[in-house]
């Protein structure tokens, strides 16, 4: 059931002319009622054992619609990274379920999980996104290469043009600026038409202007390519690019803001940081 759903979606992607939006224009807030792109149910995760155990996630329930752009905010130690890792299949929750496109991924073997990441999830990390030994184009095509699939070079070209790096395809990452490298990472994250793109502080290492360019690209991926983006950040300005901001504190979702403005996000963050962590539980 889940597979079929998935395939039909892929077909939609495949037949859709490039740049058009298969879901119809998705302005902020127009969330389709169909199965969510990703769904978390009662996800818990602790590290360590006994007295020193850290409960990083204390039961997260969440559903993110297809074609949405969500920012996950929270002070340091709020469980942002653990949330991202569990949602993206990089880590396993101790309890609860993570469903990607309707499929429960918590029960998958490490190998199945790896293959699922390869084809249905895209990643943009804060830094070190690219293999230094490969060219920009090879980096973009890396997920397909790892899957042993035919490498769709024309799609890679199109994506690179879209992120404004069409003429840099044969360069090495070392010859690009930090912002350019992040844009290559976005192109790579989109190459397999994933269910969800996870971005972990994608602008953390960039200056304001470059950060804006990168966030614009993520926004465009949602708006014009119909991608679903989940971005973990602590930057209120970055969060303002999303449709919705979720706030994590002490391992639990404590708040959310639709169409967040930088000011509103910053205010919530201040309030969260001031609140003792224990109270969040």
């Amino acid at each position: 059931m889940a597979r079929r759903q998935d395939r039909s979606r892929t077909d939609e992607y495949g037949t859709a002319p490039y740049g058009s939006d298969p879901y119809g224009s998705a302005p902020h807030g127009a969330v389709p009622p169909a199965a969510p792109a990703i769904e978390l149910r009662g996800v818990c995760r602790s590290y360590g054992r006994g007295e020193t155990a850290v409960r990083a996630l204390r039961g997260i329930d969440l559903a993110l619609a297809r074609g949405s752009f969500t920012a996950v905010m929270g002070p340091s130690g709020s469980g942002k990274s653990t949330f991202l890792q569990c949602a993206a299949g990089l880590d396993r929750p101790d309890a609860g379920q993570v469903r990607l496109g309707g499929e429960d991924i918590t029960a998958l073997s490490e190998n199945r999980l790896t293959k699922l990441r390869r084809s249905r999830i895209g990643f943009v990390f804060q830094a070190f996104n690219l293999l230094p030994s490969l060219t920009v184009e090879q980096n973009v095509l890396l997920p397909q290469r790892l899957a042993g699939e035919r490498q769709d070079r024309s799609r890679a070209r199109q994506l690179l043009e879209r992120v404004g790096l069409g003429e840099h395809a044969s360069r090495r990452p070392g010859q690009l600026s930090g912002g350019q490298q992040q844009r290559v990472a976005i192109a790579r994250a989109l190459i397999t038409r994933p269910d969800v793109v996870f971005a972990d502080e994608p602008t953390g290492a960039l200056d304001t202007r470059t950060a804006h360019e990168v966030l614009d690209l993520l926004r465009q991926a949602v708006d014009s390519l119909g991608a679903t983006v989940v971005m973990v950040t602590h930057d209120p300005v970055a969060a303002s690019f999303a449709d919705r901001a979720l706030f994590l504190a002490g391992g639990a979702l404590v708040d959310e803001l639709p169409y967040p403005s930088p000011q509103a996000v910053a205010d919530r963050m201040v309030a969260l940081t001031a609140r003792p962590v224990g109270a969040a539980a």
């Binding site: 396993r92 790896t114 990441r117 084809s119 990643f123 070190f128 293999l131 030994s133 997920p143 790892l146």
Partner: protein
């Protein structure tokens, strides 16, 4: 099929594979060298010269063979005999009667020392004339009768001896005067004297036994047919040789040389290959660890563990063939040099050629590829098994702690090493020495596995004094504690150098030291009469005893015996002594533990054993011990005494009469002389000097004659230590440079935070010293644990560490660490810190 990632990364950053390449090149060189020696040992043959005209040669098997039950199978174990094995002279008649045989000539050679009238000659029976071909005949005069001799024409002319002249010749069986009855064609083998067959048989020193029989076929009989007839007639009494195999009969040393080459190439080659795999593994592991972030990224974006493993293994594999190719030439050069030295030292007969076939090179390529593959797969285990999230987390910091399996395996190897060392305690010398490298290897594996724990312990222990050393010292202490894994990879090769070089060199110096001590304490003679030629003429000891002022003169015949030891055959140098055994203590003080040397020779089948040999046999005074004399004759003499000072003197004493007929040349090599009380030492020496063809020295002269085998194995140990040590040193330098260059960001950060260049250098220097000290300490501990039992087995003493060995080794290791750290640090400091900070790893 790989996905091409490996190729991209090797092509993109060849420099990061330089370390692996260097290690592999060295590995290939050592494997090629050892392989060439091994192959030479397997295939070496010398062309028949003297027997070129005799298509079939019969001679005894030059080895002792026994069949032993090893588990289910019976295995044949053999050991080349120390002396020439001879065949029964009665075989000649049996062969001559065969239908296909035209002539069966007995051949026996015995050396005749030079006299004032003639040069050194080879004595033969007259029946041997003709072996070299139709031209090998009398050219003048007639065949020798009793007390007559035929000389080869060249020698006769140059010595101005014509038929009718007479000369005195000393043979093993006695000295006598002979009249020249005729001249024969000049000999390729050099100056020769032919005696009447009966005379030759008597004076050869081994009546009734001959070296070989050269068989000539009748017209129309093929070599194969002849060999078949001969083989059937001979049965198990001797071996039949044809073609190039005849060369082994001419050169009995060939068997020994081949065995030695095989042992050298095989045993040492095996250990060297293991070391190579070891070094390559640690280098690859380090290089892989340094790229943990790359692999973490790959894992996150969907590379399966299998793909990561394949990529890392493929990277190593890509480098391997190139490295092997680069290692071939240096390897051949090493083999040539080594072989040349062996020839020069007389361990390999001159004329033997190094066999350089494609096999050693193929082996090098295979070994390198296998080493690289193993190394790659092992190094890939961690990054491939990591969960992707862990991977991202771990990429930045050190992995938390070594896995439990690793620790357990490491402890198993420690236990194995100790167990092997304990077992070695109960073994005799040769076997113990062989286990030494195995014990070292066991401990080395343990060090590799437990390295991080060891490094952390070292950092804690040495960190406290370091903190007193100001900012650089305390920084170094913190760095080493936090980066135990990095520290471990630098320490391991230093441990390797110290343990290998230490074990091999100290083993050798212990043997040398102990034999020196034994000779100094054991030889109490006032004079040593030595030979200038092949040996002292028969009767020298008696004549020496007759010199004025001489109390005791004991002739010493050096030979060897073969004995069964811990499931294999071994040979040991022994002495045949003549004269009154009761007087033996006057010239030899061997530290008798039980029994009495005076009983030696009371009966012909008696023997005195060194403690080492007695331990090997598990024998005490009164027991009979089974052994083989030099020419492979099995005997069971009774033990009359057990003495302590065997090494350097001789592992056993036998009555001369028991061994004289069982040696290649039956001459005493030395006569040990004790002065009568009150005799004038100089006068006695002068009196002894008048004995013909002898040199007289004081007791130090005995040392010069010490065991040649031991000398060659000692030299081989030194070369091995050099090769393995050099190998490990290069890899140590390699590793240190790699770890320092990987700290680009850290250095930049320190510089930006206001650390001066001097402080950075100071910090690195302290770290280098910590590496050196830890490596030396652990290496020395390993060498110690290994050596104590081995030294006990071989030399019956504690290991002897000469300061001239220890100091350069320590200084070398420290300098190596300082240089391999200091130079890359200097390179790092030359760049501006800001530029360093943005540098990508």
């Amino acid at each position: 099929m790989t996905n091409g990632l490996a190729r991209s990364s090797v092509r993109f950053r060849p420099a990061s594979f330089a370390g692996t390449l260097v290690a592999l090149v060295l590995a290939a060189a050592v494997v090629v060298a050892c392989g060439a020696l091994l192959q030479t040992g397997l295939t070496a043959s010398l062309k028949a010269e003297r027997y070129a005209a005799a298509p079939v040669v019969v001679a005894a098997d030059q080895s002792v063979k026994i069949r032993m039950k090893v588990g289910e199978d019976t295995e044949t174990i053999e050991q080349a005999t120390p002396e020439r094995v001879r065949a029964d002279a009665a075989l000649v008649g049996r062969l001559a009667a065969l239908p296909g045989v035209a002539a069966a000539r007995p051949d026996t050679a015995f050396p005749l020392p030079a006299t004032d009238r003639a040069p050194a000659l080879t004595g033969r029976g007259f029946a041997a004339l003709g072996i070299a071909g139709p031209g090998d005949t009398l050219v003048e005069g007639r065949a020798p009768g009793a007390n007559e001799v035929v000389l080869d024409a060249d020698t006769a002319h140059s010595a101005h001896l014509a038929p009718g002249a007479s000369l005195t010749l000393a043979a093993p069986g006695g000295t006598a005067s002979y009249r020249v009855s005729g001249l024969a064609a000049a000999q390729q083998a050099g100056p020769t004297a032919w005696f009447a067959d009966a005379t030759a048989d008597r004076i050869s020193g081994h009546p009734g036994r001959i070296d070989a029989i050269a068989v000539q076929p009748r017209e129309g009989v093929s070599t194969a047919a002849l060999a078949a007839q001969v083989r059937q007639a001979v049965g198990g009494a001797a071996e039949t040789f044809t073609g190039d195999d005849r060369g082994t009969v001419e050169h009995p040393a060939l068997g020994d040389a081949r065995q030695m080459l095989m042992a050298l190439g095989g045993t040492f080659g095996g250990y060297a290959t293991m070391t190579a795999i070891f070094v390559v593994m640690s280098t690859v592991a380090l290089a892989t660890g340094q790229r943990a972030r790359e692999f973490a990224l790959l894992r996150a974006i969907g590379a399966t563990p299998r793909q990561i493993r394949r990529t890392i293994a493929a990277e190593a594999m890509l480098v391997a063939p190139l490295a092997a190719a680069l290692g071939i030439l240096p390897g051949l050069a090493l083999a040539r040099w080594w072989f040349g030295q062996l020839v020069e030292r007389g361990a390999v007969p001159a004329g033997l050629r190094l066999d350089v076939g494609p096999l050693p090179m193929l082996a090098a390529v295979l070994a390198c590829t296998l080493a690289a593959l193993t190394a790659g797969l092992l190094a890939a285990r961690r990054p491939s098994r990591m969960r992707a999230a862990q991977a991202l987390g771990e990429a930045a910091a050190e992995p938390p702690r070594p896995g439990r399996a690793r620790t357990v395996l490491g402890l198993v190897f420690v236990a194995g090493g100790i167990a092997a060392a304990v077992v070695a305690t109960s073994l005799d010398g040769a076997k113990a020495a062989q286990t030494a490298l195995g014990v070292v290897m066991c401990f080395m594996l343990a060090v590799a596995l437990l390295g991080p724990r060891l490094a952390r312990a070292a950092a804690v222990v040495l960190g406290t004094p370091l903190r007193a050393g100001g900012a650089p010292g305390s920084l170094a202490a913190d760095n080493t504690r936090a980066n135990a894994r990095r520290l471990a990879s630098a320490i391991t090769p230093i441990v390797l150098v110290t343990a290998f070089c230490g074990t091999l060199l100290v083993l050798q110096s212990t043997v040398r030291h102990t034999s020196g001590e034994n000779v100094r304490a054991g030889v109490t003679a006032d004079h040593v009469v030595g030979a200038t030629g092949p040996g002292l003429p028969a009767g020298t000891a008696e004549r020496a005893a007759g010199v004025r002022g001489v109390d005791t003169a004991v002739g010493v015949l050096r030979t060897g015996v073969v004995f069964k030891n811990a499931g294999r055959l071994a040979s040991a140098p022994v002495l045949g002594v003549d004269g009154d055994p009761a007087r033996l203590p006057k010239v030899l003080d061997l530290g008798v533990r039980s029994g009495s040397l005076a009983d030696l020779g009371r009966a012909p089948d008696t023997i005195a054993l060194s403690t080492t040999m007695a331990d090997a046999f598990g024998a005490k005074v009164g027991d009979r011990v089974p052994l083989w004399l030099g020419d492979g004759t099995a005997v069971r003499p009774a033990v009359v005494a057990v003495y302590q000072r065997g090494l350097g003197v001789g592992q056993a004493l036998l009555p001369r009469a028991a061994v004289a007929e069982h040696v290649t040349a039956g001459y005493d090599s030395q006569v040990l002389v004790a002065d009568a009380p009150g005799a004038d030492r100089a006068a006695v020496a002068a009196g002894l000097g008048k004995l013909a063809e002898a040199s007289v020295t004081d007791r130090a002269g005995f040392v010069a004659q010490s065991d040649k085998d031991l000398e060659i194995s000692g030299w081989a140990n030194t070369v091995m230590a050099g090769v393995l040590g050099g190998f490990a040193a290069v890899s140590a330098a390699n590793t240190l440079v790699m770890t320092v260059l990987d700290r680009r960001r850290e250095v930049a950060l320190l510089r930006l935070a206001g650390t001066t260049r001097g402080q950075v250098r100071g910090m690195m220097r302290w770290e280098a010293l910590l590496v050196a000290v830890t490596g030396l300490a652990v290496g020395a501990a390993i060498a110690g644990i290994t050596l104590v039992p081995v030294a006990r087995g071989v030399a019956d003493s504690t290991p002897y560490v000469p300061p001239t060995l220890a100091l350069p080794l320590v200084a070398g290791a420290v300098l190596l660490c300082l240089a391999a750290t200091g130079l890359p640090v200097r390179a790092l400091l030359r760049t501006r810190p800001a530029a360093l900070g943005t540098a990508r790893q």
